[in-house]
Symmetry: C2
Subunit: 299 residues, 2 copies
Amino acid sequence: MTETLRRHHDTYPTRTGRHDTVLDRPGPVVRGSAADGPIDAQTLQGFESKGYLSVERLVGPEELDLLRAELARMSQDPGVRADERTVIEAKSRQVRSIFDVHRTSEIFKKIANDPRVVQRARQILGSEVYIHQSRVNFKPGFEGKEFSWHSDFETWHAEDGMPSPRAVSISISLTDNYSFNGPLMIMPGSHHRYVSCGGETPEDNYKSSLIMQGAGTPDKQTLTRFADDYGIDVLEGKAGGAVMFDSNAMHASNGNVSPYPRSNIFIVFNSVENTLVEPFGAAEPRPDYIGVRDFTPAG
Amino acid sequence: MTETLRRHHDTYPTRTGRHDTVLDRPGPVVRGSAADGPIDAQTLQGFESKGYLSVERLVGPEELDLLRAELARMSQDPGVRADERTVIEAKSRQVRSIFDVHRTSEIFKKIANDPRVVQRARQILGSEVYIHQSRVNFKPGFEGKEFSWHSDFETWHAEDGMPSPRAVSISISLTDNYSFNGPLMIMPGSHHRYVSCGGETPEDNYKSSLIMQGAGTPDKQTLTRFADDYGIDVLEGKAGGAVMFDSNAMHASNGNVSPYPRSNIFIVFNSVENTLVEPFGAAEPRPDYIGVRDFTPAG
């Protein structure tokens, strides 16, 4: 398909103009029902309207210890630190994220394929699912950095070639999330609208955007309007709990001057009916450890 | 008095050693009673134990508009922007703080001397009070910067020559304070202990410390212990409300990626029985617009 033709047929055009354009997102968000798995009807309905749901205690205390120990082990492993899949904070030299952990760590592979996780993803997406991306994130105390507002799907569409926002992320908390240690913030309901962002994708955008976003970030005017329309939910919660959120939810997190670090495991499930094609807004797809092209169903 | 003698007699030594030392703070915090003014007995007791109190609606909507308009006017005035009393963000070129506003603006002078404000300060400090410092602060949306944990008194003692922590600050909110737009955070009860900070005061420390603190900042170990002992209160509240807090309360604020800016008027009242002497931990006192040496009672 030629570039012009692709753009013509693209329901989610982005990085094409000078300014943001806001489009309504077509179709349902939740495609399964309460009968299909552990999420009850009311919670599914909440996900449809707000774009996220919380699970209070997804993993138990012993599992939590195991997961934390694995994160600590990997963060200190010189081989892991040197790997391209690891993002290091420029100033503090601390590990910020390690990608692809569902393929490089037996422990993270296990939790990423656990029925408690996968069944919920299937239930929301209404099909078999596969893992589009996995990572562990670490936000240190005192100097944890912020992450600006964005829709993950915009990037996955533009840079990875994900056709539609039929994907869901789960963030499993390895530490307590307080309002003061830079927790996830979501604009509830924002997933119903798609922000076609202005600007073009620079070459190898992912190398800098994993640290601090540029392309794919809505402008201040759009974000202010979104915040006025939808409000901002601050997702507090205990370690061992989880948040699942729609791939098109507008989200961000503040920095962290508190003494308490924040870390989580982040797994993105995509529907097997929504597998990647060529990127819609970039010359080359991002590396496989960021946008996985092995579509084998999880679980 | 010689340097050695001063240090010998100093109840609040700081910036003398290599490491932090934590001392108990002697004496009462609240020296007035409910009979002396608008603060009731329970709220005064809360201030004694937590080191702060909140006033839900200190100024009305019309006053608030007036104060906001004055802040906007000053922030845009080229003369004010060029003045040494104005702190500009290095990157965004936005005004971060304007000092000494109780002497440079009729509107801010009026609120700083208003009975609603001054009577409360007198009631806490148990004497006539004067203004040690005033400023307006502006934390922009999207890119507002954080402020690390510190006790104001430590700096006022070391760099301004304030003998003891018999001073109270009032922050009047010109915008709503949400947990997500970088509000004031206080460790409740921390004002009962004094952190004697390690390190020496660099020359003209105030020029950089108004932007990002260095000297006078407790180390991570001390701050973690304090947070474990006292917890962290996040001070949300509507525009027009105020927070009063003890000069030795450990406080900080996170950055602000939300679209909503945060601004306030900040006035420090010191007891007339606690007027400034020579600095206890610096070669020269800071300029008069930061540590006022006109001890005329307010109100």
